[in-house]
């Protein structure tokens, strides 16, 4: 069925490889400490960040109006590192006025070489600076909820941001003036696409010229995620035709991330040996969604479509479903009541399910239905 909806999506959008369309890349880095601890012998957050920055810079260098966004999620919550309109803005301005000279930012040490291409420097500096702060606060925070995943929040933020960027061209229907101003200032590259007529593409902008994709880097092995919000984000991405690429570090695959990338036509890669992450990123994940049909990509062949039990939160592949609200249970609730919608379950059916005989009786019923006249 999800294969089906994918076909629908590709049907509606004719595959015309539009070469110069700007593209938005949103990177979500899952900082849940537990997962990183497990792969500490292979790679550190620092190394992954390095690789990601190279990846982001490469993306920016492809097209003058390409965009990036960087979101981290930690047990403290998800957060935009870049763009960061409030903070970043001042930093850029400082750099801008002192361009050519040595970077003289008094407040923070130079994290990035000041000779660097400006667009790269803005992104890199912002990401590194903010990331340090996130890590600092993460180490300070209490250890009660260290395994909590806020990936759903990060995905939601990525989607709302992408939604804005995709609809920006129709800005007469959005918050007009502020939309222009904010983008000109905060994400300086954006302005090329919409407001200023400086770039050639701005002349012939059509509404959906912006491509976009999301890349999730996660080392989190816990399947104990917020199931419904993740699924909701997944469907939203599916509707927006926005692929979710996943690089899962470590040896255990994540069923929900797999489902998300499968449903959105994204790439899922299990990176068991993440030492050469930069290579993986720059090959498999570098390909724009518009040219993906032309290229043979790492396949996502065996997807486990496990669901999450509403009672225990564990993932299940065989469960019971309330027929009113469709919530999934791995066990039959003891009070014979749906935990979500509170409807009482049919006693006789419960008895049937609790007996192991149920399989054979059910099968007989189906067989007679399928082959003989249906019972009245």
């Amino acid at each position: 069925m999800d294969a089906v909806s994918e076909t629908i999506i590709t049907d509606q959008k004719p595959t015309q490889p539009t070469v110069d369309d700007p593209s938005l890349l949103t990177v979500i880095l899952d900082l849940t400490p537990h997962g990183w601890f497990k792969i500490k012998h292979h790679i550190t957050v620092q190394e992954v960040t390095k690789a990601l920055l190279v990846f982001l810079n490469a993306h920016l260098s492809l097209n003058n109006s390409n965009q990036v966004a960087f979101i981290v999620c930690s047990p403290d919550g998800a957060k935009f590192l870049y763009p960061n309109p409030g903070k970043n803005f001042d930093g850029i301005q400082d750099n801008g006025s002192s361009k050519g000279e040595t970077g003289n930012k008094s407040s923070n040490p130079n994290l990035v070489n000041t000779e660097m291409y400006r667009q790269f420097r803005i992104v890199d500096e912002a990401v590194l600076e903010e990331l340090n702060e996130v890590l600092k606060s993460l180490s300070k925070s209490n250890s009660v909820n260290k395994t909590r995943s806020t990936l759903s929040g990060a995905l939601s933020l990525a989607l709302t941001y992408t939604n804005r960027m995709l609809n920006l061209d129709q800005s007469i229907s959005t918050t007009t003036a502020s939309a222009f101003n904010a983008t000109t200032k905060s994400t300086s590259g954006t302005s090329n696409v919409t407001s200023s007529g400086s770039s050639a593409s701005a002349v012939s902008t059509n509404y959906t010229s912006m491509l976009s994709r999301i890349l999730v880097i996660s080392a989190n092995d816990d399947d104990d995620v917020k199931y419904i919000p993740i699924m909701n984000s997944m469907f939203a991405a599916q509707k927006m035709r926005l692929p979710i690429d996943v690089a899962k570090l470590g040896s255990i695959s994540s069923s929900y991330l797999q489902q998300a990338s499968d449903a959105t036509n994204g790439i899922y890669l299990q990176v068991e040996k993440p030492e050469g992450l930069i290579q993986t990123l720059c090959t498999a994940f570098f390909i724009e969604s518009s040219i993906r049909p032309l290229i043979i990509l790492p396949s996502n062949s065996n997807v486990s479509y496990r669901a999450s039990c509403f009672i225990t939160g564990k993932s299940v592949d065989l469960g019971y479903v309330c027929s009113v609200c469709l919530c999934i249970m791995s066990i039959i609730p003891t009070d014979a009541k749906c935990p979500t919608c509170n409807s009482h379950f049919d006693k006789s059916i419960l008895n049937q399910l609790q007996n192991s005989v149920v399989l054979s009786t059910k099968r007989r019923k189906i067989d007679s239905n399928g082959r003989d006249t249906p019972p009245v």
Binding site: A78, K99, Q119, S156, L157, S198, N302, V303, F345
Partner: protein
């Protein structure tokens, strides 16, 4: 982004306020000049003078005094009259337009937090009109093709919201009822069938002849009843028929009232969308098949006649929402609702490509279509489009978690062990019904706001009233705060995020991060 841009950003930032003023003035000036050229020249000049006069005083009453005889013009033009195109009208036009847009968006937005409790597993037969009247061109290009394109959208939306429901399509044409598509849970299958109807050449299904409500209702009824007995959970299903009726008459072979009696007996709910005008027999069908116990508004909700294209779409999309639980169902509930055992199979795809457009056609056998011959004839009947999907589906298989047998299409019932197999994502599509997201509340206008940026998309909000000069107390700037706050996490969102979050995403980003 190069060096020259850098300078631009820097200077722009230095005088952010000034440039803002300039640009917005340009905007309003040009706009008013357009107005001046157009029809409402008189109104505008009056508006300007009144704007000057009323500085500081209550604007509304003055406007009323100014406008003389034409009271019907009054209400219509008031929004424009408020716009003062003098020097201190900085950004006022923009804010006004913004206010209007935002209020419209709010209105368009459906109320997401309606109570749910619905029997979600539905079986719906869509009866479309394929009679001669559908060639009328009052809808563009014709009624027929407009209906088909809207129907495609409807199918997608229907299966999006009702993941494990089934649908079938029947067409009234030339006095008989034709089955366009069998009852199935696959949106792609139905869409392919609809596409076939749209083809220009060698179309066997071009609109022709008279419609027959009775024939099609009988066919739909038998389809519904047949599919019902096959299902494991027949107590929960809702049986529905949706008729899109373009004609104003029906030519039936027998007594349609007997058909209606049968429909009532079988507890089938019928909705009708008329494309031309109300028809008495339609009204009767709707009245009798929808339980009369409910309030008198049943006619409005179940039988609608379209006013224009967007109304057509609106009516159609209304049918996506599951029917509210009927009173009979409430009674049944005391007995208890069934609990269904389901399996969530894994996808197995023995190909090396990630997209299904490049098939390596590795052979795979499934247990649901053991009879290859049969399948081939099926796909032949389905035509070329159908053929493509059938063969591509073969590559992807799903493994029953109970007996490890492979099936090729979901949702289905495992032919080996009788387990109902479904993708967990099918179920998850309807979960936002379970946990409806609370509507955001508009933040009242204030002197100063806590938030500067939209939490979701980092859009900069307009600043508070304190930046405005004192005599601008009545400025339209203060009409809206442009901020919509989530009651749970207290984060502020812009209107676009609000709409997007409630209509598409169904997650509050703020709450997810709490």
């Amino acid at each position: 982004m190069d060096e020259s841009d850098e300078d631009y950003v820097a200077t722009n930032n230095g005088k952010a306020v000034v440039s803002d003023r300039d640009s917005s003035e340009d905007f309003s000036d040009s706009d008013s000049s357009i107005l001046g050229d157009g029809v409402s020249k008189r109104t505008r000049s009056r508006g300007r003078s009144s704007g000057r006069q009323t500085r500081g005083g209550p604007m509304q009453s003055n406007l009323k005094g100014n406008s003389g005889g034409y009271s019907w013009e009054d209400e219509y033009q008031r929004t424009w009259d408020i716009v003062k195109d003098d020097d201190d009208g900085v950004g006022s036009l923009q804010t006004l337009v913004q206010t209007l847009i935002e209020s419209r968006k709010k209105k368009i937005m459906k109320n997401p937090s309606t109570p749910f409790q619905r029997g979600i597993i539905r079986t719906m037969i869509v009866i479309i009109d394929g009679s001669e009247v559908m060639l009328e061109r009052d809808l563009r290009p014709t009624r027929f093709s407009m209906m088909l394109s809207l129907l495609q959208e409807f199918i997608l939306e229907f299966f999006d919201q009702n993941p494990i429901s089934q649908m079938g399509i029947v067409m009234m044409r030339n006095g008989i009822a034709i089955r366009i598509s069998d009852v199935s849970g696959s949106p792609q299958y139905h869409i392919d069938k609809i596409r076939q109807l749209k083809t220009k050449q060698h179309n066997r299904f071009e609109p022709k002849g008279d419609p027959s409500l009775q024939n099609s209702l009988e066919l739909a009824r038998s389809l519904l009843m047949y599919n019902f007995n096959n299902k494991v959970n027949d107590t929960q299903n809702s049986k529905e028929i949706l008729i899109i009726f373009g004609a104003l008459f029906t030519s039936d072979p027998g007594n349609i009232h007997k058909t209606i009696d049968n429909l009532v007996k079988d507890d089938i709910k019928i909705k009708i969308i008329g494309l031309a005008a109300q028809v008495a027999i339609c009204e009767e069908i709707v009245r009798r098949t929808n339980s009369s116990k409910t309030s008198s508004s049943y006619i409005n909700t179940n039988y609608g006649v379209i006013m224009n294209e967007s109304h057509f779409k609106e009516l159609l999309m209304d049918c996506v929402i599951p029917l509210p639980v009927s009173e009979d169902f409430e009674k049944k509930e005391k007995k208890g609702v069934p609990l269904i055992k389901m399996g969530f199979p894994s996808k197995i795809q023995p190909s090396v490509t990630s997209n299904s457009s490049i098939n390596l056609n590795l052979p795979s056998i499934c247990s649901c279509h053991p009879d290859e011959e049969n399948d081939a004839s099926h796909s032949k009947e389905a035509g070329e489009a159908g053929n493509g999907t059938y063969s591509s589906k073969k590559v992807i298989g799903y493994k029953c978690p109970q007996c490890l047998n492979k099936v090729c299409q979901l949702p289905t019932i495992c032919p080996i062990c009788g387990l109902m197999l479904i993708l967990s994502t099918h179920l998850a599509r309807s979960y936002h019904h379970l946990v409806p997201l609370e509507a955001y509340k508009e933040v009242p206008t204030m002197e100063e706001y806590e938030s500067t940026y939209c939490y979701g998309c980092l859009l900069k909000f307009p600043s508070g009233r304190k930046n405005a000069q004192s005599d601008d107390a009545n400025k339209i700037e203060s009409l809206t705060s442009s901020r919509y706050r989530c009651g749970k996490c207290q984060q502020d969102f812009c209107i676009d995020c609000d709409v997007f979050i409630h209509e598409t995403l169904h997650n509050c980003p703020g709450c997810e991060n709490k």
